[in-house]
């Protein structure tokens, strides 16, 4: 999205949106892309809204940035958006400042603001982490409902497996900035094929074994500035092999929808060979 400071930049690869590579966009094109085609909501609604402007002002800004409309129309639209995300008493709320709203309310405002131009993609970066559980559920429900209504794709970034299970059709598991495994929710939850995914799933406390100790993944998250030569996860992996230390695992196809990058699959020959994959696909 090109909104990180100077220390974050794209080193390689493409990001395709409707066939166009957005990494090649000029800053001006990116400005137009952001908000209009692809909107974002963030982790902490407490700090993500500017404290010195009213909620209405900020939503209207999002509207007028991408559309040539009068202030009156923008206000009307902002009010509609607030109603859409389930905030009652919208005209009054528009005049309020962020600190006068609760956390859940602010996240709703963020969502309303993100959706003003009916973007095709909504990136939600840990949208519920800072909220308490009941509000979390409401926000997720709202997001799914709006997704159906507006027909957009949501990319949700989170480490909350519960949220993923509830929300996602397709999942990409990442560790240390690399893709470990991707597939449908079913693939990932019922047939995890990467040691990191397996570890994550093991660490969820479940109702049936409440009395057992939690199973953590040993070790600490990796330092992104000092990546190992081989698999990013090898320092914490129970089943690491020699090859894991020296070579980045290749991504192999487990089945039609499911891909994983773990040497174990190759060792156990648990993957589709190219021709097979082609046939199946």
């Amino acid at each position: 999205m090109q909104i990180l400071d100077g220390n974050g930049h794209i080193t390689q690869g493409k990001v395709l949106f409707k066939g166009e590579d957005i990494t090649k966009y000029t800053p001006k094109q990116m400005e137009d892309f952001r908000g209009r085609h692809c909107a974002m909501i963030f982790q902490d609604p407490m700090t993500s809204l500017n404290p010195v402007y009213t909620v209405g002002n900020q939503i209207m800004e999002a509207i007028t940035t991408h559309n040539k409309v009068s202030k009156e129309d923008a206000r009307k639209k902002a009010q509609e958006m607030l109603e859409l995300v389930g905030i009652n008493d919208a005209p009054r709320r528009l005049k309020q400042y962020p600190h006068e709203l609760s956390g859940g309310m602010r996240q709703r405002v963020m969502i309303a603001m993100a959706l003003v131009s009916e973007p095709s993609i909504l990136i939600a970066d840990e949208p519920t982490t800072a909220l308490d559980v009941t509000i979390q559920a409401q926000i997720l429900e709202l997001m799914m409902e709006l997704q159906k209504k507006l027909g957009m794709a949501i990319i949700i970034v989170t480490h909350d497996l519960g949220v993923i299970a509830q929300m996602s059709d397709e999942i990409v598991v990442m560790y240390g900035g690399r893709i470990c495994e991707r597939g449908t929710a079913e693939d990932i939850f019922y047939n995890p094929c990467h040691e990191y995914t397996k570890g994550l799933l093991r660490s969820i406390p479940s109702v049936s074994n409440m009395k057992k100790k939690l199973v953590p993944i040993a070790g600490t998250p990796i330092n992104l500035l000092n990546m190992p030569k081989g698999c990013a996860f090898c320092a914490r992996c129970d089943n690491a092999m020699k090859i894991c230390l020296t070579q980045v695992p290749e991504e192999v196809r487990i089945d039609k929808t499911h891909l994983a990058s773990c040497w174990i699959n190759i060792r156990d020959n648990k993957y589709l060979h190219t021709e097979e994959a082609e046939v199946k696909a």
Binding site: M1, R34, F42, L49, P51, V52, A62, M113
Partner: protein, 303 residues
């Protein structure tokens, strides 16, 4: 809001009264008096003079009498010149006020612009240059700077007059007065600008597709101004009431000069009047900055 202002004004009156009392008694506790000058006055003349200005009465009584006159807006006459104090003060304030206000406005505007630039071009050449000068101007005493200015522009380059009646002669004093506050505002703005540029709401605004220029001037700057306002209130009061050093170097007959003169002369009513005047200006500036605070930051409740 109105309630708050009324409350603040009442409180201000109390503090001005306290300042009044302290000054009055401290002033009288210092040995010597307005009529112990070089010229030896005869005992009789001195007594007559003291009686005329109520100086023969006990100090508390004098204080009450003084307050009574003050209620009627009467600051008395100068013991030295015999002129009405109100007139003297007002004409001095006109000079200092004009000078100070220009310097303050200059300081705030350039300070904010330079500070924002330094923050935006952090660690680049512009930033380095700005940091160099702000450090220089905060470290250099104003009498050194003022003398330098005079030397360069009036004596060496002969661009500006040392002193004449034209407003041209105000240029250097304004610069000399503005140097320190400009440097200070620049540093404050830079720090708080950097802070607010790192906030989440800046990322949100960027994600909305708002152009960078607008992000900076709408979202970052307004938040960055909050700490600056805290400084500007007292700075304004300080600068409006005249700087002793700068006024003396440029021989400007402003409030700062008047104040020192009155103390040297033991001109009691003059000392009182200047003190009260300074206190009132200070209180007003603080009130203004608190209100400005509320205007910029809606989270602040004034009560």
């Amino acid at each position: 809001m109105t309630r708050y202002i009324v409350k603040r004004v009442l409180l201000a009156i109390v503090s001005v009264f306290i300042i009044c009392a302290i000054t009055f008694f401290a002033m009288n506790a210092i040995p010597g008096g307005p009529f112990n000058s070089e010229k030896a006055l005869s005992e009789a003349t001195k007594q007559a003079l003291e009686a005329r200005y109520n100086l023969d009465k006990p100090v508390p009584v004098q204080f009450v009498l003084y307050l009574k006159n003050l209620m009627h807006g009467d600051f008395g006459v100068s013991l030295k010149t015999g002129r009405d104090i109100k007139d003297t003060l007002l004409s001095c304030f006109k000079v200092s006020g004009r000078l100070g206000l220009t310097a303050a406005v200059l300081a705030v505007i350039t300070g904010i612009i330079l500070g924002s630039l330094a923050a935006l071009f952090r660690n680049r050449l512009i930033d380095r240059i700005i940091v160099f000068f702000t450090t220089l101007f905060t470290a250099m005493p104003s009498f050194v700077f003022a003398t330098f200015l005079m030397l360069i522009f009036c004596i060496t380059l002969k661009l500006l007059p040392v002193w004449d009646a034209s407003s041209k002669s105000l240029i250097l004093p304004v610069i000399a007065l503005a140097a320190y506050p400009t440097a200070y505002v620049t540093r404050l703005t830079k720090t708080s600008m950097l802070d607010s540029l790192g906030q989440d709401y800046i990322r949100t605004a960027r994600a909305k597709g708002v152009p960078m220029v607008k992000v900076i001037f709408k979202h970052a700057l307004r938040n960055a101004l909050i700490p600056v306002i805290t400084y500007v209130g007292p700075m304004l009061a300080y600068i409006l009431t005249g700087s002793l050093v700068v006024e003396n170097i440029f021989t400007i007959g402003g409030l700062g000069q008047q104040f020192v003169k009155s103390i040297n002369n033991r001109d009691y009513p003059m000392i009182m009047a200047t003190t009260i005047f300074l206190a009132v200006v200070m209180v007003i500036c603080n009130l203004l900055s608190d209100i400005a605070y509320k205007v910029v930051d809606p989270r602040i409740t004034l009560d």
